[in-house]
C-alpha cells in the first residue's frame, strides 16, 4: 500500500505541500498545516458518517422484510439492494448535477454530471461530498419501497426508483440544499431550516410513497368485505427490530454527519438524535398500549423511527429538552397517522408514509418552533412554505409518474402472482425453502 501512498500524495496536492516539509516551520506554514489536519478530520468524519448512512439501507431492508410476508421476502430485499445500486449510478451520472450543480434559475443545477467536477490532482472534496449525498438520495428512494411492498412489479420498481434518484429527489434537494455546493435554491434563500433532511429526504420519500400506495391500491385481503382494515402480519419481528436498531445507528451518521465538519457541534446533534428516538419509542408504546390494550411491537418500532425522522430537521438548532418533546409528539403522531391511513383505505404495509412523510413534516415545523435562538412568525412561515412545497411538488410529480407507469408497463402484479407470492413469480425462488410456512394464514 505504501508505494501507492506516494501516488496518492501527488494526487492530494495540498497534502503534499504540507507534509513534504523538512524545511523550517514558520507560524504561517504551521497554520496551513493545522488547517490541513482539520480538513483531514472533516474528510474522515464526513466519510465515516456516509458509511453509517449507507448502513441504513440494511436497516430499511430488514424493517421492510420483517413487516411483510415471507412469500415476498426476496422481492423486498432485491428492491432495497437495487434502489441503492441503481440509485448510486444515476446519482453519479445525473442526480448530483441537478441537485448541486450551478443553477441560473434556482430551480435545479445544470453541471457537475458524471462527477465531472473532480479532476485527478484537484481537490477531492467533491468526492467526499458526493459520497455523503448519494447515501441520502438512496434513503429517499428506498423509503418508497416499503409503502408499495408486496404488490409492485419489480421492473416498474426499478424504473421509478431510478427516476426518484435522478430527478424527483435532486430537484427538491437543490431548492433547499443546493448552496452546500455550487447551487443556490429558492427555498434555502428564504432561510428554510432543514438541517439533515426531515423534509428534503424523509418527506420527499414519504409523499412519493403515499402517491405510490394510492395509485397501486391496497393488497388483496387488506380490507374485509365490511371495508374494515384487516391485519396482514409481518413475518419476522426480530428482523424488523434489528432493522430499527441499524437505522438508529445510521442516524448517528445521518444527523451529526450533516455538519460535514469535525467540530464540537456534533455532540449536541448526537444527543438530540438519541433523545428524540427514545422519546418516540416511549410515547408510541404508551399510545399503542392505550389504544389497543397491549403494547404493540410494530407501532413501538415505528415510534422510534418517527422520533428520528422528526428530529432530523432541527437536530442542530434545538435543545436536548426540545428534542425529547419533538420525539414524544412524533411517537403519538405516528400511531394516529398509521391508523388514519389504514382507515382511509391506503395500504402502507410498513408505515412509511406516517413515519417519513407525516413526521418529516412535523419535524420541519418543530425545527422552527423550538429553534434554540428563539422563533418568529417568519421562521414558522418559511418552514410551512417548505413543507407545503415538498408535498405539492413530490406528491404531484410522483402521482403522475406512477399513473404513467400504470398506463404503460403496468405498476402492479397480477392477482395470481400476488396470492402466490412475488418471490416465486418474479424471482423464481423462495426465501426460506427449508422451513414449513403456513399457506392459509396469510395467503
Amino acid at each position: 500500500m505504501r508505494r501507492l501512498i506516494f501516488i496518492l500524495v501527488l494526487i492530494a496536492a495540498t497534502a503534499g505541500s504540507a507534509w513534504a516539509g523538512d524545511e523550517v516551520p514558520t507560524a504561517l506554514s504551521n497554520k496551513e498545516a493545522i488547517d490541513l489536519v482539520q480538513t483531514h478530520a472533516n474528510y474522515l468524519w464526513t466519510l465515516i458518517a456516509a458509511a453509517l448512512v449507507f448502513f441504513m439501507q440494511a436497516g430499511f431492508a430488514m424493517v421492510e422484510t420483517g413487516f411483510t410476508r415471507a412469500k415476498n421476502a426476496i422481492n423486498i430485499l432485491m428492491k432495497n439492494l437495487m434502489d441503492f445500486s441503481v440509485g448510486s449510478i444515476v446519482y453519479w451520472a445525473v442526480g448530483f448535477g441537478i441537485m448541486f450543480g450551478t443553477t441560473t434559475t434556482g430551480w435545479f443545477g445544470t453541471d457537475g454530471f458524471f462527477l465531472s467536477d473532480f479532476t485527478p490532482g484537484g481537490d477531492p472534496w467533491v468526492l467526499a461530498f458526493w459520497m455523503f449525498q448519494v447515501v441520502f438520495a438512496a434513503t429517499a428512494a428506498t423509503i418508497v419501497s416499503g409503502a408499495m411492498a408486496e404488490r409492485t412489479k419489480f421492473v416498474s420498481y426499478l424504473i421509478y426508483s431510478a427516476i426518484v434518484s435522478t430527478v424527483i429527489y435532486p430537484v427538491f434537494g437543490s431548492w433547499a440544499w443546493g448552496s452546500l455546493y455550487h447551487g443556490n435554491g429558492w427555498l434555502e434563500g428564504l432561510g428554510f431550516i432543514d438541517f439533515a433532511g426531515s423534509t428534503v429526504v424523509h418527506s420527499v420519500g414519504g409523499w412519493a410513497a403515499l402517491a405510490g400506495a394510492i395509485v397501486l391500491g391496497p393488497r388483496i385481503g387488506k380490507y374485509g368485505p365490511d371495508g374494515k382494515p384487516r391485519a396482514i402480519m409481518g413475518h419476522n419481528m426480530p428482523l424488523a427490530a434489528l432493522g430499527v436498531f441499524i437505522l438508529w445507528l445510521g442516524w448517528f451518521g445521518f444527523n451529526p454527519g450533516s455538519t460535514t465538519t469535525a467540530d464540537k457541534s456534533i455532540a449536541m446533534i448526537f444527543v438530540n438524535t438519541n433523545l428524540a428516538a427514545a422519546a418516540g419509542a416511549c410515547t408510541a408504546l404508551i399510545t399503542s398500549w392505550i389504544k389497543f390494550g397491549k403494547p404493540e411491537v410494530g407501532m413501538t418500532l415505528n415510534g422510534a423511527l418517527a422520533g428520528l425522522v422528526a428530529i432530523t430537521a432541527g437536530c442542530a438548532n434545538v435543545s436536548p429538552a426540545s428534542a425529547i418533546i419533538i420525539g414524544a409528539i412524533a411517537g403519538v403522531l405516528v400511531v394516529i397517522s398509521v391508523l388514519f391511513i389504514d382507515k382511509i383505505k391506503i395500504d402502507d404495509p410498513v408505515g412509511a408514509v406516517s413515519v417519513h412523510g407525516v413526521n418529516g413534516a412535523w419535524g420541519t415545523l418543530a425545527a422552527g418552533i423550538f429553534n434554540i435562538g428563539g422563533t418568529t412568525a417568519t421562521i414558522i412561515g418559511v418552514q410551512l412554505i417548505g413543507i407545503a412545497a415538498c408535498f405539492v411538488y413530490t406528491f404531484g410529480i410522483a402521482f403522475i409518474m406512477f399513473k404513467i407507469i400504470t398506463a404503460t408497463i403496468g405498476l402492479r402484479v397480477s392477482p395470481e402472482e400476488e396470492t402466490e407470492g412475488l418471490d416465486v413469480i418474479e424471482h423464481g425462488g423462495s426465501a426460506y425453502p427449508d422451513f414449513e410456512t403456513s399457506t392459509y394464514a396469510q395467503s
Binding site: 396470492t419 416465486v424 423464481g428 425462488g429 423462495s430 414449513e436 403456513s438 399457506t439 392459509y440 395467503s443
Partner: protein, 112 residues
C-alpha cells in the same frame, strides 16, 4: 359416523370453513400438506440451477360427522372448495367406529 378427509387449495380454506359452519359443523382439524397430482408444481432457479418443485401446498381437512350428515358435508365442501381449476383437490369418506370427547368422555355422536 363418517370421517371426511378433504384436500383443498389453501386460499379456499376460509370459504370452506364458513360453508361448513353454515350447515352446523362444529369442529374440524386441519393440517398443512403437500399434494402431487395433475396439477404440476413450478420451476425455481437458484444460482443458475433449475429446481422442480413437485409438490403443491394444500390444506387437508379432517372432519368426523354423523353418517347422516356425511353427504351434506361433502356437498358443502365440494361447493365451497371448487375454483374449477386443476388442483382443486379431493374429498374422501371413511367409516369411523368410535369417537370420544376427551374432556367429558362422551362417545359416539355426542362426542363430535
Amino acid at each position: 359416523m363418517k370421517k371426511i378427509e378433504a384436500v383443498i387449495k389453501p386460499f379456499k380454506l376460509d370459504d370452506v370453513k364458513d360453508a361448513l359452519n353454515k350447515i352446523g359443523v362444529k369442529g374440524m382439524t386441519i393440517s398443512e400438506v403437500k399434494g402431487f397430482g395433475r396439477q404440476k408444481g413450478h420451476k425455481e432457479t437458484y444460482r443458475g440451477a433449475e429446481y422442480q418443485v413437485d409438490f403443491v401446498p394444500k390444506i387437508k381437512i379432517d372432519l368426523v360427522v354423523d353418517a347422516a350428515m356425511s353427504d351434506q358435508v361433502v356437498a358443502a365442501i365440494k361447493e365451497s372448495a371448487s375454483s374449477g381449476k386443476i388442483g382443486d383437490g379431493k374429498i374422501f369418506v371413511m367409516s369411523v367406529d368410535e369417537a370420544v370427547r376427551i374432556r367429558t368422555g362422551e362417545t359416539g355422536r355426542d362426542a363430535i
